[in-house]
Symmetry: C2
Subunit: 445 residues, 2 copies
């Protein structure tokens, strides 16, 4: 593929809303609902408090809101803060190439749409294109780029934000190529930051810099028009392997958004199989902790490597304990943020059951798979094999599952009525005359 | 060197103003004066106009000014704009590792100092440390990092801005390590952008993101404390070779700022030898264009490769024509921005002399060297060999040279009296109780 930057720019500019399949439009609503849950629940995290403290003295006019909070900021700073809050719980959507697609793109679009009073259909269209651009560019350098140490949600996300914002701004083909070039030269984010607050700075800065790239391009601020493919451009400088063909092939036929995955449980994907199996058994057999003698788990070796903490003391440690995950799933029947609080980790009943959990690593299992066996005091053994956990492409979360996740995340903060309103607005996304109602409905004054 | 991020953070935090040698303090004034000339002259460039158009609707309170203009912006946006304006003419200072040290650092510091009313000594100290940090980190990955395609003024500059701003903010050692980590994870800028407006976005964004890293760290926003040296940190991810030792060795003994170079002429370094030789001959012999029969230049092959345009038509093309450079230097006796205007390139006398210039590539010459021979109508041949052009470390610009350059750049915009005031303030930098007077003195309402 020659001139991939320019070709991609043309595809984005020429794309029409009417071309989008109905399933893709619906998926935009699903992703939006999931994003709002994460952003609202994340908005009161101390990471966001600290970021806001370092931003508020310098922010411009209150053009855009922060879901879950009352502050209003200029659109560039709103994009930054919302990118941070939507990723801070690590509960946002994912793709096979390790990209979290919505967190760098939606904050840029929601801010721009709110400020300009753009329609929901325009927002949905730009969002679909942004996800298309970031996932395709990500795939062009995956996995070498990620393996080398780049946090691909930041490095690819900035392209998605630039393309999506550029679409909303109505850039022409050349301006869109400049916006993509500016994204290329601001592509950044290192995996070394995992485990610190700085990890969620990456989608935040990607959203902000991508949006700014589009705004600069709209003013005629020039850039290279070969920012992605040039010898000293993104693909060759940031990766040992670069395949530009995947950036454009199958455009308009295969949609990246249809490969979007949503996490049902508020912890790493590696323990989702175990949690899923435990919840299934609980629901089917009306399991009570008091009945249980012993829980046996078979998991891939990686699961024990990453989540082998036997005696967690804090909520965060609980996320790295397959023992806690199994116990709390059986006791509570869900595994949202609340199940990974300090209180739930220290709860007597949960901690008691945790001691009865035994884990064996089994090299024949994939890291997403699990086998759960619960031995009851009456001697019965209840078993469940989970080949594909809930939330995987093979067993996606239903619309109802996504609604339940959203309510669990946003309910405390917004209350039932506002949650209901926001949920309805998300489902009606493409019919909204002014997409600004979305963020305004998520405000907490 | 183990723990280089943490060690560097400690060195910066523990550094005391009183430790700075007098020569280093004086060099800070020289660099500041040179920077102001570039920033004021660059401030009306269309690149800056377009950037400002894309920033003003979103900027916060008028905390800091833009030298050469009347707008006032929040400090983060002021750092961005001033980083752009000071590099747009490519006339700012340089170091052996291809870093332009002042443009990513001073915009962050001047904005912060103006907002907080910090003293000139504090600013000078932070500036010296910022240059120390960026040049040493740059050297730890040079030349492989640069050769791979990274624009090192952006990638290393963000560390300088973060460290310098962090020093002004009084960060403790751990916060400083976080600020350096955030710089690492925002290190960006591709050489593919050379030739577009986007090149000077790099020091601008480095200044802004470095400043923001320090502000975030001051609020307790955490990052990795091994951002520079970790397996997935800056050194290993952004370069095929990384030598952490040079980041700290000789700290406090050798000062990077003393290796700072200033360009006397408003074009690429490769033609500085030719211009220097031409001006020397003009001054010594009172050369008039009408006397000249022919000009013969011997230069390194690279000079012809980069600046071989025989018949330039615009000011920008003139910068890539060693023929124009020689002719205009003989006619005008200087080679500032004015000599690379469309008007001077099209001037009859200059164009006439340009046709008499002949160039031979000589593989024995270094790319900074030149040999100039002017044959007069009366048969005399005047020759000058330039082993080290003015502005090189071997033949630095004098304080008077820097003042003349400053006046040539800022004179039209500020007028004589304001230029005089600002020049005096730069020389008195370390005695200023409030460094905010500097930028305010450079404002044009």
């Amino acid at each position: 593929m020659q001139d991939v930057t320019r070709t991609l720019a043309r595809l984005v500019v020429q794309s029409r809303y009417d071309d989008l399949p109905v399933a893709v439009r619906h998926e935009a609503s699903r992703a939006l609902l999931n994003w709002f849950g994460c952003a609202v629940a994340g908005s009161r995290h101390e990471t966001v408090d600290r970021a806001l403290a370092a931003i508020l003295p310098f922010a411009g006019a209150g053009q855009a809101g922060i879901p879950g909070r009352g502050e209003r900021l200029d659109i560039l700073n709103a994009a930054l803060v919302n990118g941070i809050s939507s990723h801070v719980l690590d509960f946002d959507d994912t793709q096979a190439e390790a990209i979290h697609p919505s967190s760098p793109v939606l904050p840029a679009l929601l801010a721009l749409a709110e400020w300009r009073g753009l329609s929901g259909a325009e927002l949905a269209h730009a969002f679909v294109l942004g996800v298309e651009v970031e996932c395709r560019i990500g795939r062009s350098v995956f996995p070498q780029h990620y393996d080398a140490g780049w946090h691909i949600t930041g490095t690819a996300g900035v392209f998605g934000a630039a393309a999506a914002a550029g679409k909303l701004l109505g850039l022409d083909e050349r301006q869109m190529a400049w916006a993509l070039g500016m994204a290329a030269t601001q592509s950044a984010g290192l995996r070394e930051m995992f485990g610190s607050m700085c990890k969620c700075l990456h989608p935040g800065r990607a959203a902000q810099n991508g949006l700014h790239s589009a705004l600069l391009a709209a003013q005629g601020f020039t850039s290279s028009e070969q920012g992605i493919e040039a010898k000293r451009g993104f693909g060759h400088v940031l990766s040992s392997r670069f395949n530009p063909d995947v950036i454009t092939e199958g455009w308009g036929v295969h949609y990246e958004l249809l490969s979007n995955m949503y996490k049902p449980f508020a912890c790493g994907l590696v323990v989702h199989g175990v949690i899923d199996g435990c919840i299934q058994l609980r629901e089917e057999y009306g399991l009570q902790p008091a009945q249980i003698d012993r829980v046996d788990l078979q998991v891939a070796p990686l699961v024990m490597e990453l989540t082998g903490k036997t005696d967690p003391q804090t909520g965060l440690e609980g996320k790295f304990s397959v023992f806690h995950a199994a116990a709390v799933a059986i006791v509570d029947g869900v595994a949202g943020e609340a199940q990974f609080s300090d209180a739930r980790v220290r709860d007597t009943e949960v901690a008691g059951l945790r001691k009865k959990v035994h884990v064996v690593a089994d090299g024949t299992l994939l890291w997403t798979q699990a086998h759960v066996a619960v031995r009851l005091r009456d001697g019965r053994v209840l078993e469940r094999h989970v080949p594909h956990p809930l939330g995987s492409l093979e067993r996606p979360m239903s619309d109802a599952d996504l609604e339940a996740k959203f309510l669990a995340l946003a309910g405390d903060m917004l209350g039932g009525r506002k949650c209901g309103d926001l949920r309805s607005l998300c489902w009606k996304l493409t019919d909204l005359p002014d997409a600004g109602v979305l963020v305004r409905a998520a405000a907490v004054i």
